[in-house]
Symmetry: none
Subunit: 190 residues, 4 copies
DNA sequence: GTTTAACCGAGACGGTACGTCGAGTCTTCAA
DNA sequence: TTGAAGACTCGACGTACCGTCTCGGTTAAAC
């Protein structure tokens, strides 16, 4: 039992919650993050404005809740036979997520908002969306290597920068990226 | 002479232009990008609101004009003796720019805005701020290698992702990053 | 017995009823009619919101029930020896009621609400609070004269207008008002 | 010249001012004072909400400005030959104003609002709408008699109370009211 | 003594007006 | 023509209260 506070009171409407989350998803692709407003979300969800504010403080919070779960799912790739295939497959999934997925658009919007909003920065720090999936892939590639933030960073960084700076995702050679990454992973020449 | 239109007329006030650009710089660090308003800029610059709109359409345009020149300057590093030192020095400059410089904050804000504003996306596409400096460094490291967008991307990407995702710049090991990058640059093993 | 519907069921709580009526009385003098809300009344009375709505539709109804009985009581003056004293005493009571009594404030608020709310207009028409007391006084002054709405009106009107238009009740000369009223009551000169 | 403040700046739009005042007039009769909202006024007037708030703080202020001038005009009656006719004519005008005129509805709404809003009380104290016209009539009836607030009160009060308490204006015998008033005006019997 | 149902409290629900603020436009004055 | 000033329409902000609803508990009358 989690819901303990108080005794009486009407319980939270799961229907309203879902309506809001879906409204955010829809509106993000339709009008973009800048034009995403609490008012608009409430109206689209067919929900009172107060109801939205009761459960979320900002549009960033709603977006976070709406797209984080989707994100992890989209980034979970099936194991491959070789490390190169493994990394390439992951990078393809990453590029697809960042460039084409609705959840990816939400993630990019959140990263963007975090640049000038400390609250969003804290929010996205609570869940390392990209890092978790990358970490899983790296563990499969080299089970002996310890968890390494910076290796994850070298894996994700180039694709992330490519997409964020607005370049065509189709022009990114993930195979070449994967090869370079794996070579960079090799131990120092003795 | 560009200003030819009409016959007479008061010429554009360079003083007002500088006041606006400096106001944007100051306000960005003081209140952040989100709280940056055209009204606020005009008032801080001691300039009429219309005067701002006459020369720039959005706050992004002003910011672009205000910080791009500074950016290139801050990222121009002196040549080093070894490739590893060259790359490490550049990465340190890059991290310093992105994480601590006013111009870097402006650049991050622009990248952020570009995620949901096609106009800003076009705007920042007109000048490859980071790419230009990185390209110069790469040319010094290996003059024979042709210009390679993706190499630039692998050089900048990890640091960019590290900073953009809000992690502590001091915890980033640029030396290790430089080594991995150079190893990734080596030709395929025969 | 009125409560017949259904078969069993818990009877209405008189305690809750009194708590609401007293809460309205208190809140009226504390925050004024405009700031009087159903929610505030319920909270002040320590009663559920639904409980209030179950028995009264509007704050006007509660106020009516809360202050009408008090009103009649406050306006019932003891008989005097002369008509002039009778009328003057009554007018003093009337001014005191309208200007200084909590019930009077409630009455004024109801009259005010009636100006733009037909429901309140009907409500206050069900009980002629001022008229009843004035009628009693007039009967004592001249038992032969038949009931006369307009005489009551001439008796109450001036004091009513004085208070309602916001003038200082202390500056109203009720003695002079009484004399004028009695002279106006005299039969036409032959 | 009144408009001196500052030097530049776009001047106030008289068109917007008139649109607001007319919108208030219209809405008052259409939806009543309670349902009169700043938002509704702005929309009806085809004017920005900010523009309304720039010039008036409350709906009461707008209403005051919108109907006071009309009020004085409607209450200015032509001189009659006898005092009785003079008073009767005035009372008829007064009843017509209070009961049937749009401006009168506005006046009643303001008086009502003043009962629970000190700001409105101060507002309506700045201009004695009814008193001014009544005073003019009384001067014509008896030029020697000095200005007498209480006489004005006895003249207006009964009609005011009759209308405010919601009784049928057609059932009010203004002729009888006028006779009683004039009798009450006579000097004390020696 | 068990139903049985209306009671009470709490609080979330969909609405809507509030007054403020920033947007971008327009219109004046003075230099 | 340029600048500064400031009013214009528009619309989102977050808050408050509206009246309704839906819960968990309680309590007194009817069987």
């Amino acid at each position: 039992m989690i819901q303990v506070k108080g005794r009486g009171g009407r319980p939270r409407s799961e229907q309203a919650r879902d309506a809001v989350l879906h409204a955010v998803d829809d509106l993000l692709v339709e009008v973009g993050y800048a034009a995403l407003t609490m008012k608009g979300i409430a109206e689209r969800a067919g929900v009172g404005r107060q109801t939205v504010y009761r459960w979320w403080s900002t549009k960033a919070e709603i977006l976070f809740e709406a797209c984080v779960d989707d994100a992890e799912e989209e980034l979970a790739v099936a194991p491959s036979r070789t490390p190169l295939a493994e990394i390439t497959t992951y990078l393809d999934a990453l590029v697809g997520f960042l460039a084409h997925s609705a959840a990816g658009a939400g993630y990019r919007a959140l990263i963007a908002a975090a640049q000038h909003d400390p609250a969003v920065k804290e929010l996205i720090a609570t869940k390392d969306v990209l890092g978790a999936s990358a970490s899983a892939v790296l563990r499969r590639v080299d089970p002996d290597r310890p968890a390494d933030d910076q290796a994850i960073d070298r894996l994700i960084g180039p694709a992330f920068f490519w997409i964020m700076s607005g370049r065509d995702p189709a022009r990114l050679d993930t195979h070449e990226l994967a090869r370079s990454f794996l070579r960079g992973l090799e131990p120092e020449e003795s």
